[in-house]
């Protein structure tokens, strides 16, 4: 019979509740579409779990872009300057949504600010993590890369449509 020692099991336990919450959020992100449970566990080991307070910056424009964030809990606002130099709000995002994915590919500086609209939990998935996955598990890396290409392709199509319909200037 295995007798569990409460003290040690509490010290060394992994927060399974937090892990399942993170996996649930990851499953909603199109970049991780079609991944198996084992793949999700691999990604889970790589994602950095962070907690932000209200009005805390997640990243600021002009700083080097490292990768994307997945909202596990809470709300985030993406702000930046428009062509007239006015500070405008681009998007409000909530749990299950993601931002900063372009930095997974390019090393350009961030063009927007991301700020917590409420106390929130985020999962950070960076370019170096993606490169690590590609080296260690090429099959999983390819799946993620293909999904990333689809996400960026969709965004490009939408931008084209907006341009064609003259929505960008409004």
């Amino acid at each position: 019979m295995i007798i569990k020692n409460a003290l040690w099991s509490n010290i060394f336990k992994t927060d399974s509740n937090e892990s399942s919450q993170t996996i649930l959020a990851l499953k909603q992100v199109p970049i991780f579409n079609g991944l198996s449970e084992r793949d999700f566990n691999t990604v889970l080991k790589i994602v950095h779990n962070r907690e932000y307070e209200l009005d805390e910056f997640i990243f600021q424009s002009g700083t080097p872009g490292l990768g994307m964030y997945i909202i596990i809990e809470g709300d985030v606002v993406i702000k930046g300057m428009n062509s007239e130099g006015k500070n405008i709000e681009f998007a409000r995002l909530s749990s299950g949504e993601f931002f900063g994915e372009i930095s997974l590919i390019g090393e350009d500086d961030r063009s927007t600010n991301a700020m917590a609209l409420s106390p929130c939990k985020l999962g950070a998935f960076f370019r170096s993590d993606l490169l690590d996955i590609i080296t260690r598990s090429p099959k999983l890396g390819n799946k993620i890369l293909l999904n990333l290409a689809i996400v960026l392709g969709n965004r490009l199509t939408k931008t084209n449509e907006l341009l064609i319909h003259g929505e960008m200037g409004k």
Binding site: K45, H48, N49, R50, Y52, E56, G62, T63, P64, S128
Partner: protein, 368 residues
């Protein structure tokens, strides 16, 4: 408050406490830290192979096991094939480091200069050699004592805790954990960093680890190439000219290791070979042309290293100014003798990389 100073302090206790204990009890902890450094270097060397095998097997544990097994097999093979020769040469060279050998060296130098120089210049040189005899013999004594010290103390330094076998086991255990959970350790450290510095820390740690890995791999590859090509070159020279250059393996090791020191290192390897040639018993009479040939071999070795090996090494050099190299080597020598001189430049190069990346991070993340 998550970002209050107390919260940050508590979150960082997990590395601050061990670090404080390590520094406070340095006398007892340094052998373990040294083993950790060896294990870290081992991880840097083996990680690409483990990653490659993992991409096929999809199992990290199995990949680590397979790579370590391969390393152990190669290690046993090397011990059986090269170690007896190397050990014999080390013992021979230790017994050779006497003042008689020094007198022999001076005689040979006189012979060569007599061959080479016009009579009046030779007489001048001889006079200089005689007048500087005391100085040269002092230098020789210092060098020989240091070399004997290195030979007898290298083992103690590498395996400072207990026996060789026990220490090897410790290094191996650390290596296994680093290969299996290296990424996890890094993530735990990053987790404790305040949000404000989170992205900067990730970027800086990645850049530092990439640069250090490239530097260490590059240096070891260059050292191996210089060592092996020196041995091959010296064998070819002996075969062609019939001269005797014993302790070829030791000379190869010296040339390879001293290659860690830029500018000065290649000269150390060359001088070792020349001195060994001059003080050994020769069937073919000692001539200046053979000294030049040995120098030529080392020039070719450097040429191969610079033209063929170095282009394959990314960030092999970290660009330290020659004057700074000399200062660093002297400081290293003052701190811990010849071994300090040998490792001073790599340590300085790694510190330079860390400082540069920190500066880059603080500037680009607008903290400077």
């Amino acid at each position: 408050m998550k970002n209050s100073p107390l919260s940050i302090f508590i979150r960082n206790l997990f590395w601050m406490v061990p670090l404080t204990i390590s520094i406070g009890l340095w006398e007892f902890t340094w052998p373990i830290l040294f083993q950790l450094v060896l294990a870290y270097i081992g991880m840097i060397i083996l990680n690409p192979s483990v990653n490659r095998i993992e991409s096929i097997t999809q199992k990290r544990g199995l990949s680590v096991f397979l790579v370590l097994m391969a390393v152990i097999i190669i290690f046993i093979f090397l011990i059986n094939s090269i170690w007896p020769t190397l050990r014999r040469q080390m013992i021979d060279i230790q017994s050779m480091l006497t003042m008689d050998t020094f007198s022999n060296l001076i005689i040979k130098l006189e012979l060569i200069s007599k061959d080479l120089l016009p009579n009046y210049l030779f007489l001048k040189t001889q006079a200089i050699l005689i007048s500087m005899d005391a100085l040269f013999s002092d230098i020789w004594q210092i060098i020989t004592t240091d070399i004997q010290g290195i030979i007898s103390k290298t083992g103690n330094l590498i395996f400072a805790v207990g026996s060789l076998v026990l220490s090897s086991i410790f290094v191996m255990v650390f290596l296994v954990f680093l290969l299996l959970d290296g990424q996890h350790f890094k993530r735990v450290f990053i987790h404790a960093i305040p949000n404000q510095y989170f992205e900067m820390t990730v970027k800086i740690l990645d850049k530092i680890s990439d640069s250090i890995s490239a530097y260490i791999r590059g240096q070891l590859l260059a050292a191996l190439s210089v060592g092996v090509t020196s041995i091959i070159g010296l064998y070819i020279l002996q075969w062609i000219s019939g001269i005797n250059i014993p302790y070829t393996f030791i000379i190869g090791c010296v040339a390879g290791l001293s290659n860690l020191i830029p500018f000065i290192g290649p000269i150390i390897g060359m001088l070792t070979a020349v001195v060994v040639y001059l003080v050994s018993v020769q069937v073919v009479p000692v001539q200046f042309i053979y000294v030049v040939s040995i120098m030529g071999i080392f020039a070719i070795v450097q040429l191969i290293d610079n033209l063929i090996v170095s282009p394959f090494i990314i960030s092999g050099s970290v660009g330290i100014h020659p004057m700074f190299v000399i200062i660093v080597v002297l400081v290293g020598g003052a701190i811990s003798g010849p071994l300090g001189m040998l490792f001073a430049v790599p340590v300085a190069a790694i510190l330079k990389v860390i400082i540069e990346e920190l500066r880059w991070g603080f500037k680009n993340y607008k903290f400077l």
